[in-house]
C-alpha cells in the first residue's frame, strides 16, 4: 500500500512525517503546476471549485508515480470541501483507475485512528499514531512560523533573495528533521537565519491583509505567488491563516488572543451572524481587525463559485464601506490569467499608495 495526499501549501512536509511515523509508504505529488490544474480540470465537474480540480490534478500525478491509496482529510461542514473525497473516488472509478480512498475526518481523531488501523499499516500502533500526530503538529507549527517570518522580512530586507534563500533552507531543515527534538532545533535555527538577514528598519511599507479561502492563500502556485508579488511592490502582507492555525481551530484549541478564530467570529457577529461555512466569518472578522489596526488595504481571494466566499464577498462590501478600508476581491478558477491578475494587483497597490500619501498630507497639513 502506497498512500498519497493532495498538496495544501507546504503541508506535505507535516503529512509525510506523520505517514513515516506510522510506517506508511507514501508518494508526495510533484509540486502543483499548471499541468496539474489542466489535467485535474478535465476530469472534474465543470462548476466545482478550483481546489477540487487542483487536488484532482495532484492525485492523478501521484497515481502516475505509483500511489494506490489516497488519504483525504475532509471535514463535514456546509462547504463542499468535506465531500471532495467521495467525489474524487467516484470520478476515478468511472475512469477505471482502481485506487482505495481513506476518508479521514478532520474533526474525529478516534475515527481517523480506526480507518488507519483497518488499513493495516505495518508499524501501526497507538504509540506511533500519537507520535505521528505530535510530529505533524510540530512540523505544521514550524512551517507556519517560517511563513510568517518570511512575510515579515520580505519588505524590509535589503536583498529579497536572502529571504527567499533562508525560507527554502528553512523548509528543507524542517523536512529533514526526523524526531521531535530535531524539529525544535530546526525552528531555532530558522529563527537564527532570519535574524541574520540585513534589513532596513526605516522602511515604511504599505500594510495589506490577505484574507479568503485558506487553500488559495496557502498554495503559492494557485494564488499566483501573490505574497511575493506584493512584496516586490513593497507591501507587507499579513494573514491570519496558516496550516497550524487551521489545526488548532479544528481541535478547538484556538481560543485565545485577538487573532484567534474564536475572536474573529465574535468580531464578525454584527455583519455575519451565522457560520456560513469555510472561512466566511474569520474573513469578515479579520477585515474588521485590519481596519481597526490601520492596515492600508485588504485582498480577498476565493475560488470561483465558492459558497462561503460569495457570502463573505457580499458582506465584506459593506465592511469596506462602513470602515473605510479598500478591499480587492479575486474570484479565481482555472481560466484565470496571471497577466490580468498582475495588472489588477498593481492598480490596487498604486491606489493604496496614493491614498496613503493623501492621508499623510492631510495629517501634516493640519
Amino acid at each position: 500500500m502506497i498512500i498519497t495526499f493532495p498538496h495544501f501549501g507546504y503541508a506535505y512536509i507535516a503529512f509525510s512525517a506523520a505517514a513515516e511515523s506510522i510506517g506508511l509508504e507514501y508518494v508526495v505529488p510533484e509540486k502543483t503546476g499548471s499541468r496539474d490544474i489542466e489535467e485535474g480540470s478535465k476530469l472534474s465537474p465543470e462548476t466545482i471549485c478550483l481546489p477540487f480540480k487542483v487536488n484532482m490534478g495532484n492525485i492523478l500525478n501521484a497515481i502516475k508515480r505509483g500511489a494506490d491509496t489516497i488519504t483525504f482529510a475532509g471535514g463535514v461542514g456546509p462547504c463542499r470541501f468535506g465531500y471532495y473525497g467521495r467525489g474524487i473516488e467516484a470520478i476515478l472509478r468511472d475512469r477505471g483507475i482502481n485506487v482505495k480512498v481513506l476518508h479521514l475526518n478532520q474533526r474525529d481523531i478516534p475515527d481517523a485512528y480506526r480507518v488507519l488501523k483497518e488499513a493495516r499499516c505495518p508499524k501501526f500502533s497507538f504509540i506511533n499514531f500519537v507520535r505521528g500526530f505530535i510530529i505533524m503538529w510540530q512540523k505544521a507549527k514550524a512551517i507556519s512560523q517560517l511563513e510568517n517570518m518570511k512575510r515579515k522580512s520580505m519588505p524590509y530586507a535589503l536583498r529579497r533573495s536572502d529571504v527567499k534563500r533562508a525560507f527554502e533552507a528553512g523548509l528543507q531543515r524542517i523536512d529533514d528533521a526526523s524526531s521531535l527534538r530535531e524539529v525544535l532545533r530546526a525552528r531555532k535555527e530558522n529563527r537564527k537565519s532570519f535574524g541574520k538577514i540585513a534589513k532596513d528598519a526605516a522602511k515604511k511599507p504599505l500594510k495589506i491583509g490577505l484574507i479568503g479561502e485558506i487553500f488559495m492563500i496557502l498554495e503559492p502556485h494557485v494564488n499566483m505567488g501573490i505574497e511575493d508579488k506584493l512584496a516586490e511592490m513593497g507591501a507587507e502582507v499579513h494573514t491570519v491563516f496558516s496550516l497550524h492555525k487551521w489545526m488548532k481551530y479544528i481541535f478547538h484549541v484556538d481560543l485565545f488572543g485577538k487573532r484567534s478564530f474564536r475572536n474573529l467570529s465574535r468580531l464578525a457577529g454584527p455583519y455575519l451572524s451565522e457560520n456560513a461555512g469555510g472561512e466566511s466569518r474569520n474573513n469578515v472578522g479579520s477585515a474588521i481587525l485590519y481596519a481597526g489596526e490601520g492596515y492600508d488595504g485588504i485582498i480577498h481571494m476565493y475560488p470561483f463559485t465558492c459558497m462561503p466566499g460569495l457570502v463573505g464577498h457580499t458582506v465584506l462590501n459593506r465592511v469596506s464601506r462602513d470602515l473605510d478600508i479598500p478591499i480587492l476581491h479575486f474570484s479565481i478558477d482555472e481560466h484565470f490569467s496571471e497577466v490580468g491578475f498582475d495588472t489588477r494587483l498593481e492598480a490596487f497597490v498604486d491606489m493604496l499608495k496614493n491614498r496613503k500619501e493623501r492621508q499623510n498630507a492631510a495629517l501634516s497639513g493640519n
Binding site: P78, R80, A90, T314
Partner: protein, 304 residues
C-alpha cells in the same frame, strides 16, 4: 404591522407555513408579486454577478417589497432535518442570506430573521420564539403554529395529487425553487407536460426511505436538500414505473456542482433508466431547453 415575504427560494417549499403563522398572529402578510424581468434585473444590480439564480431572484423580490411593507421576513434556515450527533445544513448561501441582504441593500425596513436550526433546536421552539416577538400570547402562538403546519401539509398534499395523465413518467430531481416555474426559472414541468410526458418529483416516495438510501451511498452528506435529491435518484434508478430522470441544477450552485455530477455518475453505473443533467441560469433560453428535453424524450421513445 405589514410583513412582507419574498416569493422566492424557500418560499416555494415553506410559504404556506410562514404565511399562515404570521397572519394568524394578527399581522398583515404581503407576498411579493410574481417575478418579472424588471424586478429580477433590479435584484441583479444589487448582488454579485457570480451568485446563483435563486439568490439573484430573491434580491429582486426583496427590492419589490421594500417601501411597501413595515418589515420583511427573511428566515435564517440553517438546517431542516434533525440528525444529531451528525451535522445537518441547508446551504451556505441560504444560511448567510439575511446577512447578505442586509449588507447589500440600503434603506431596508426591519428584517425579521428567526433562526431555524432543526438540528440544534426543535422547529416548534424556533417558531415559538418568533411568535412571541410578533404577538406575546403563548396560546395564540401555539395555535398559529399548529394551523400553519396544517396549512402547509394540506398544500403539499394537494400539489402532490397528480393529474393522472398518460405518458412516460419523468422524474425531476432538483430543489423546490428550481421546479416552481416562476420567472426567471424556466418552467420545466410545463415543458414536459406540453411534450406529453408526466413529470414527477421525489416527493412520491417515502421521505425516510429516500434518506436512508442516501445515507447508505454517501454517509457524510449533510446538505438536507441534496440528501433528498440523491436518495430520490437512487430510488428512481430501479423504479420500473419511471421512463427517465432529469437532474436540474443552477449554474454556480455549490452543492449541485458536486451532487448533480455524482448522481449522473451513479446513474451511469446503476440505473436501468436514462438520466440527464440540465444546468440553468438567467441566460437559459427556453427554446434551447425544449430542444434538449425533446431529444431526451425521443431517446426514451427509441429505447422501447
Amino acid at each position: 404591522m405589514k410583513i412582507g415575504i419574498p416569493r422566492a427560494l424557500l418560499w416555494h417549499k415553506y410559504g404556506r407555513l410562514w404565511e399562515t403563522f404570521i397572519s394568524e398572529l394578527g399581522h398583515e402578510v404581503a407576498i411579493s408579486n410574481p417575478g418579472t424581468r424588471e424586478t429580477f434585473e433590479s435584484g441583479c444590480a444589487h448582488c454579485l454577478d457570480e451568485i446563483c439564480l435563486p439568490i439573484k431572484s430573491y434580491y429582486g423580490h426583496v427590492l419589490e417589497l421594500k417601501g411597501r411593507v413595515d418589515a420583511i421576513f427573511i428566515p435564517k434556515v440553517i438546517s431542516v432535518e434533525r440528525r444529531r450527533p451528525l451535522k445537518s445544513f441547508t446551504c451556505p448561501k441560504i444560511i448567510g442570506l439575511a446577512d447578505m441582504i442586509k449588507a447589500s441593500i440600503p434603506g431596508l425596513p426591519e428584517i425579521i430573521s428567526p433562526r431555524i436550526d432543526v438540528n440544534g433546536e426543535a422547529e416548534l421552539l424556533s417558531f415559538f420564539k418568533l411568535g412571541m416577538r410578533l404577538n406575546p400570547n403563548p396560546v395564540r402562538v401555539l395555535r398559529a403554529y399548529m394551523k400553519a403546519v396544517k396549512a402547509q401539509r394540506d398544500h403539499d398534499a394537494r400539489s402532490r395529487q397528480s393529474e393522472r395523465l398518460s405518458g412516460p413518467k419523468i422524474g425531476l430531481i432538483s430543489h423546490s425553487y428550481n421546479l416552481c416555474g416562476a420567472y426567471p426559472t424556466p418552467d420545466v414541468v410545463r415543458i414536459l407536460r406540453k411534450l406529453g410526458a408526466v413529470p414527477v418529483t421525489v416527493d412520491i416516495y417515502e421521505r425516510e426511505e429516500l434518506l436512508s438510501s442516501a445515507d447508505g451511498q454517501f454517509p457524510e452528506l449533510s446538505w438536507n436538500y441534496e440528501r433528498e435529491m440523491l436518495g430520490g435518484a437512487l430510488r428512481m434508478f430501479n423504479d420500473e414505473d419511471m421512463a427517465g430522470g432529469i437532474v436540474i441544477s443552477n449554474f454556480s450552485c455549490g452543492p449541485d456542482s458536486l451532487i448533480g455530477d455524482y448522481i449522473t455518475r451513479m446513474a451511469r453505473r446503476h440505473s436501468s433508466i436514462p438520466f440527464t443533467l440540465l444546468t440553468i441560469d438567467e441566460h437559459t433560453a427556453e427554446a434551447g431547453l425544449v430542444t434538449r428535453i425533446e431529444a431526451f424524450l425521443d431517446m426514451i421513445e427509441m429505447r422501447k
